[in-house]
């Protein structure tokens, strides 16, 4: 394919396509940002209760910073793999690690497109756009089917399950991340458990406790990294 493409390729046309993709990408990203940030206020207006900006700011300082760092890393790592069109779309539609990245890599391998080439740009965009559309359709159909099930989902019998959605998430994530480094995980887990046992009032500020806990884990990880580096040098 590469040989065939190179024979017919018009570099100027491709450059013009890329330029237009960046223009379009920026415009639709700004539109999506405006819609996402506007929706809570629009919904708030509809419900007669606007967001509490102070609480949102405090929430951002506790948990938002963690996700901001994570987003920056994702951006730096995945943009080169996805190309221009693919990365704009992927950051708009989300589910990068669990779907978009492996999907685009799979499509790329299937057609043997090399990273950084015009073929990769086209294939990545086709792949991510298709993947996003499939998710949108599946969720829309699923939501339509869920509407008649609302009385069941909201029945008092099921409420204990929905009240425990957060512990369920952290249980699943604990297995996923702790197994990557059990010894490292033991220290922050023990420290945090003891802290909450001695100062139980901290339970209402759990999201803030992510900061010292994360800092402790990252500090330990840094020590391990340095040790590994020294061992490699030897």
């Amino acid at each position: 394919m590469n040989q065939n493409t190179n024979q017919k390729m018009n570099p100027e046309k491709y450059e013009a396509y890329l330029k237009a993709t960046h223009r379009l990408g920026r415009a639709v990203s700004l539109l999506t940002l405006a819609m996402l940030l506007g929706a809570p206020f629009l919904i708030g207006g509809l419900l007669g209760a606007m967001p509490d900006l102070g609480a949102a700011a405090r929430g951002f300082l506790s948990v938002g910073l963690v996700w901001m760092v994570s987003s920056i890393v994702e951006y730096l790592v995945y943009t080169p793999m996805l190309g221009a069109g693919g990365s704009y779309l992927a950051f708009i539609t989300g589910n990068l690690i669990n779907m978009k990245i492996p999907c685009a890599m799979n499509a790329r391998e299937m057609v043997d497109a090399k990273a950084g080439t015009p073929e990769n740009e086209v294939i990545s965009t086709l792949s991510i756009a298709t993947s996003s559309l499939v998710t949108i359709v599946v969720l829309a159909v699923g939501v339509a089917l869920m509407i008649p099930l609302r009385p069941v989902l909201e029945s008092p019998t099921l409420q204990p399950a929905f009240a425990n959605v957060v512990p369920a998430l952290f249980g699943a994530m604990a297995y996923k991340y702790f197994r990557k480094d059990v010894r490292l995980a033991a220290v922050p887990l023990l420290c945090m458990s003891l802290l909450f046992m001695f100062v139980p009032s901290l339970t209402s500020s759990t999201s803030f406790m992510i900061i010292p806990s994360g800092a402790l884990a990252i500090g330990l990880s840094w020590l391990k990294y340095r040790k590994l580096q020294k061992e490699e040098q030897k």
Partner: protein, 248 residues
């Protein structure tokens, strides 16, 4: 009318559905442009079709997994908002965690009984703000970043850097803080070291972790790779179901 009834109101469906529709149109525009560009570049249309069909089939199972996430969040946030959040930018682990942190800041737990309309609007805003950075960076830097990368092979890796280890450590720290709070809640929730606090979060977390271990074992040892698509949502739902058994 209950708060959940309001969160499932037709107005909110219209707002969320409208945004999802616009995102779908954006995807179609990118798809058509890429197809035309591929043809103009002389790419084989059979291979482009293959890329599209393989991506569609590849995405079906993970999308069902994401739908399970909508079900998990619908009990406390209604159906339309989780539908929007998981269709646009979101990811289940992120949405649940940020929603919980936002609920904490407005002084409630993320549960159907505690939800208020203002708490919901605040949670919705924080969920949007916390996840938008990839899109912000793409808007500001994609063009310059693409130029900088020209001629470099992005697939080439130069060993494990500290960045990878730091990301894992950050998530370990986050999970430790929440699990620690569940231990603390049980041990000292009703008075220091009385061991009479709420133990249901511990049970739910343990069941979800066990379920995750089971999913991982099946995916890795039995090579049921497709099961990976359901591991987080499936583990969460099993953990949540265990709460029904103890009735907390």
């Amino acid at each position: 009318m209950s708060v959940l009834d309001q969160l499932n109101g037709s107005g909110i469906y219209l707002i969320c559905g409208g945004i999802v529709l616009i995102i779908a149109v954006i995807c179609v525009i990118f798809l058509v442009r890429a197809w035309r560009a591929g043809k103009a570049l002389g790419m084989d249309t059979v291979k482009m079709k293959r890329a599209i069909t393989s991506s569609a089939t590849f995405s079906l199972l993970p999308s069902v997994g994401i739908l399970l996430g909508v079900i998990a969040l619908s009990g406390s946030l209604g159906i339309p908002w989780p539908w929007l959040r998981l269709s646009v930018i979101g990811a289940l682990h992120y949405e649940t965690q940020v929603a919980s942190a936002a609920a904490e800041q407005v002084g409630i737990a993320l549960s159907p009984e505690a939800m208020t309309t203002q708490a919901f609007a605040t949670i919705a805003l924080l969920m949007s703000v916390c996840i938008m950075w990839g899109m912000v960076l793409a808007t500001l830097f994609n063009r310059k970043y693409a130029k900088k990368l020209q001629g470099k092979n992005p697939d080439k890796k130069t060993g494990v850097g500290f960045g990878d280890m730091a990301m894992i450590a950050m998530f370990i720290g986050m999970v430790s803080a929440y699990l620690g709070s569940y231990f603390g809640g049980f041990v000292s929730g009703n008075g220091l070291f009385t061991f009479s606090g709420d133990w249901s979060p511990l049970l739910v977390a343990a069941v979800a972790a066990l379920a995750m271990a089971g999913f991982t074992w099946l995916a890795e040892k039995k090579h049921w790779d497709w099961l990976d698509n359901f591991s987080i949502a499936g583990s969460m739902l099993l953990g949540m179901l265990s709460a029904l058994l103890v009735g907390h």
